[in-house]
């Protein structure tokens, strides 16, 4: 059932990739002093562009997936590599992480866990229908859009600040 939404997801993926390219351009033009934000936007944009290209060119033949068993696992690897690479670049160039980049890491972790659960449901258990499939689709797309918006709006609040503001208001 989950693969029925594939075409719809491909269109959303293209939109999200475009949004990431826009976010990178915005960061490059508007926030020239934010080194960490530039690194984060660059890594996330290239990750989404590359995974989109890989998905469209390498993983599908005549509209069908080559290795559907590993479909969700590879998304986890992409997300994980993005986080590790971004962290390593920050570490080697001695740049302190921007709050938006840390939030992007955490949102990627949510994506990874939902991918893992869907892999368990769809591939390991072969469950044809489950309420989590629609939750997964919306979670993955929403987190990607939120990450791009975090970069575009130079979001500087940490999770702690958000809770404090919520408690004070």
């Amino acid at each position: 059932m989950i693969f029925e939404y594939l075409e719809f997801n491909v269109e959303i993926d293209n939109l999200i990739t475009l949004l990431f390219i826009v976010s990178f351009c915005v960061v490059l033009l508007r926030y020239k002093d934010e080194k960490s934000l530039k690194i984060g936007a660059f890594i996330y944009t290239s990750s989404y562009v590359l995974s989109n290209v890989a998905f469209n060119l390498l993983e599908r033949v005549n509209g069908e997936l080559i290795a559907p068993d590993y479909f969700y696992l590879q998304w986890i690897v992409y997300e994980s590599l993005t986080i590790i690479l971004c962290f390593m670049i920050h570490l080697t160039s001695k740049v302190k992480h921007h709050e938006a980049v840390i939030s992007a890491y955490r949102l990627s972790c949510i994506n990874m866990f939902s991918c893992l659960y869907v892999h368990y449901l769809a591939i390991v258990n072969s469950t044809p229908e489950h309420w989590f499939y629609s939750v997964y689709t919306s979670t993955v797309n929403t987190t990607a859009i939120v990450i791009a918006l975090l970069f575009i709006f130079n979001f500087k609040w940490s999770l702690k600040d958000c809770f404090l503001k919520f408690r004070l208001s």
């Binding site: 068993d69 590993y70 696992l73 986890i76 690897v77 997300e79 994980s80 590599l81 986080i83 590790i84 962290f87 001695k94 302190k96 992480h97 840390i102 890491y105 955490r106 990627s108 972790c109 990874m112 866990f113 893992l116």
Partner: protein
Amino acid sequence: MLFEVPFILICIFVSVFLSFLVRKIEEDKEIPLPELAEKLLLELDEVNQLEATTRVLAKKQWKDKYEVYLERKKMDLSKDKSKINKIRAVK
């Protein structure tokens, strides 16, 4: 799947570890500037007592560390300047 799933679990563990402990890792990495200056002075004293052959390389490494210290100091000064500007703006 015997190999892939454990690999994925390790990937998830590393990513979660990094995303939740980034700030702590960064704080541990950054020694306060006065402490760092003291440490550098002690190191320089040790380097000066080395033999001529090993001293050249040791001094080069020390200079790299000193440059990092200077960069951090510059960043600290620019932060202070931006704070002063903000106070002026409030006035």
